[in-house]
């Protein structure tokens, strides 16, 4: 019984719920903004890598390798606490979005590259022989086919970005986790943390299930 009132204290949970929901809103804002920026950045990097001159490609590859290697928490702290020393002062929200986008772009670029490379070379040749421009080759021929291949890993990446938004709490961003820890301190009871954990679960579990379904569908169907 004591355990129950410690971890699943309903009055405490109800009292902290508005705070948790406002945290959820911030988490969603950070997550969705970073996901969209990451998708655009990643697609741009992947296509650049395909068509740009060699030295630009080398820079893109360097970017991708760096941001896939650096721990997100370290990057976030560098962006928020170190950049002000060179005069770049970003708000907690922008710091979180910047760090998440930088990393997500790198992963997304790799996902798109793999998807584009999976398209048979004959599709590029047929497009070229018809006189299609690079842009039309991508938009009309390659990407619509690659999208089937990249949707499962992209969804997976979205899940990771959503999870990683929790790191924003270290730069004083009032996201779901931060709100939960504050509510916990206030009520001297860990129930808000459990509540936050449940909200993360409710948010991400469906996406995990969707990825599993997509992976199954695309692995057996279509070429």
């Amino acid at each position: 019984m004591d355990l129950y009132s410690t971890f699943f204290n309903v009055p405490v949970l109800l009292a902290s719920l508005p705070q948790l929901l406002s945290g959820l809103l911030v988490t969603l804002q950070i997550g969705i903004t970073s996901i969209i920026c990451g998708l655009i950045g990643g697609l741009f990097l992947a296509v650049t890598r395909l068509y740009a001159p060699v030295f630009v490609c080398a820079i893109v590859r360097l970017y991708i390798d760096i941001f896939r290697s650096i721990p997100l928490l370290v990057l976030l702290i560098v962006v928020y606490y170190a950049l002000p020393f060179v005069g770049i002062r970003l708000s907690p929200f922008l710091s979180a979005v910047a760090a998440l986008t930088l990393v997500s772009s790198a992963y997304t670029a790799e996902i798109f590259r793999a998807g584009i490379e999976a398209i048979p070379h004959g599709q590029f040749e047929a497009s070229a022989a018809l006189g299609l421009s690079n842009r039309h080759t991508m938009m009309d021929v390659i990407l619509p086919q690659a999208i089937r291949i990249v949707i499962p890993p992209l969804t997976n990446n979205c899940i990771n970005v959503m999870k990683d938004t929790a790191l924003a709490s270290v730069v004083a961003m009032p996201d779901l986790l931060k709100q939960a820890t504050q509510a916990q301190a206030l009520s001297a009871n860990p129930t808000p943390l459990i509540g936050a954990a449940l909200i993360y679960l409710i948010l991400l579990w469906p996406m995990v299930v969707v990825v599993a379904r997509l992976e199954k569908r695309y692995s057996k169907g279509k070429r």
Binding site: P120, A129, L130, L132, S133, Q145
Partner: protein
Amino acid sequence: MSALITISNLKKAYGSFTVLHGIDLDIAQGEVVCVIGPSGSGKSTLIRCINHLEAFDADSEITVDGIAVKPGRALAKVRAEVGMVFQSFNLFPHMTVLRNVMLAPMRVRHTKTSDAEKYARALLQRVGISEQADKYPGQLSGGQQQRVAIARALAMEPKVLLFDEPTSALDPEMVGEVLDVMKKLAGTGVTMVIVTHEMGFARQVADRVIFMDDGNIIEAGPPAQIFDQPVEARTKSFLHAVLDH
């Protein structure tokens, strides 16, 4: 009679391995040329240079309808005038047959959708697959797919059609339907360059047969001459080998 395609001193190498040793070849407007030769002799490479799917040596020169074939803006013009049909069809699998044929005119020529569709349907009729217009390539037989590929190439109203072994990936019973379409095309005045192993077809349709070996043109002439009175020993032994079985 001025040439539609001029190829002079065409050289191409992969590293230290030379595939084409300075080919000279002029092809007239409306001419049907069949290229034959053993595997690895450079036949595909030769025709793929004509629309610059393969890059070639800087001191080589190819022109199509007076336009130099080289990377840059003019290449789009060349490619709009040169259609290509591949051994493995290379249709766009995510589009219907009709969209496959409509795509290039709409994107390259900015043809109106309704006009592109009308022309695409007419072309599909011409290659004998108008009933399949709304299917996807994967639902068609190989012979049907290759005929769609021919219609797709024709949609740009090219002056030149290049064929790289268009029937080699087909089941034997479907070879005939594709060759029939090509025979009809040969009578329409479009210039055709065809890499093929179908000697009967080459004899019947070609204005000129070119025999290649080791990256060189060994012998060229009217089909009767090449098939019945070859001069070069290599031509003789090649024909002997392929016509024997």
